[in-house]
Symmetry: C2
Subunit: 194 residues, 2 copies
């Protein structure tokens, strides 16, 4: 029984990894047979674990998110809170953009109805909040922002970068991070000529 | 005939101004009679010019947008391109946020179906693009951004600031403007620890 269970877990993982690669190279409309072939399992086995294409996409997003959460904890422990926060922001925008693209592709293909959510949102916010405060205490990030502001800015940047490609995303993240770095911000009073 | 026409135009303007004030103080659900009373016109006159509440809200948005477009042209001529661009960004975020709130209120009240759009989008983009290039040439704004990036960032900031109140909006705009100011941006290469 234990050996069968280990087999099943290995199959699930192989399918998930094959699905992630296939979605990345061919999009979510890639046939399920092709994913099974790449994973080295039968289609019946694949369907037993993932009855719908949407459940397969969700598994990919969940796996990527837990990997990201590990990475976030790793960054939260890093010695240079500023650089770690900027890395977290950049990688989170990347994750959310990828997830959004999968979600949109699913919707276009008429496969999934609900929007995919990033799991462990609360835990991620907590880690991000701790890192933000450490970076602020270290004088690397402006002090006039809270975790909620940061979360909303990341969301706004994701929406702004949506479907514009990686270079545009990189530019927008750079502007945001440079804005966060502005510890001696002149603020908006210096902005508007009457 | 000319006098009657002038009367009609004055009535339209009075109603629009009264509607703008009433929406700002009491929200879009303010009764039409109340708007007519404040404008000093009969309800029949109001309905003749604005058959629906949605048409009244749209008139308010259009009027505010054309006022803003004048302001944008004024800023585009300003001597200090950097400050003028930052002012334009701040005021455009304000305009779009107000418009979005009116639009959402309409939807909640079950009055309007379509999203309100900001008119003269192309003209505004052109003015903004000219100002961006002038500010970049003056060394006040980073050079790695185009007009489309700027437009998307403004949109993202509006979405991030949505319904969070004026102070949150001000913080998010400040971060964005400081990010734009970073003419010697270290870029993202300096961001991510491996």
């Amino acid at each position: 029984v234990r050996a069968r269970r280990a087999d099943a877990l290995r199959n699930i993982k192989n399918v998930r990894v094959a699905a992630e690669d296939a979605f990345a190279s061919d999009g979510v409309t890639v046939p399920v047979d092709e994913i099974a072939r790449r994973a080295g399992v039968g289609v019946g086995t694949l369907y037993r674990h993932f009855p719908t294409k949407a459940s397969l996409v969700e598994a990919v997003v969940v796996a990527r998110s837990s990997k990201f959460l590990e990475r976030a904890h790793e960054l939260a422990e890093g010695p240079d809170a500023g650089s770690c926060l900027f890395a977290l922001v950049q990688e989170l925008v990347q994750l959310a953009t990828d997830k959004k693209e999968l979600s949109d592709e699913l919707a276009r293909a008429g496969i999934g109805q609900d929007k995919l959510r990033l799991p462990a949102k609360e835990e991620l916010e907590r880690v991000m909040g701790d890192l933000l405060r450490r970076a602020q205490d270290a004088g690397r990030v402006r002090r006039d922002l809270g975790t909620a502001d940061l979360g909303r800015m990341i969301m706004g940047t994701c929406l702004a970068a949506d479907h514009q490609g990686p270079q545009s995303t990189e530019r927008l993240v750079a502007v945001m991070c440079d804005g966060l770095r502005a510890v001696n911000s002149p603020g908006l009073r210096a902005v508007a000529p009457a």
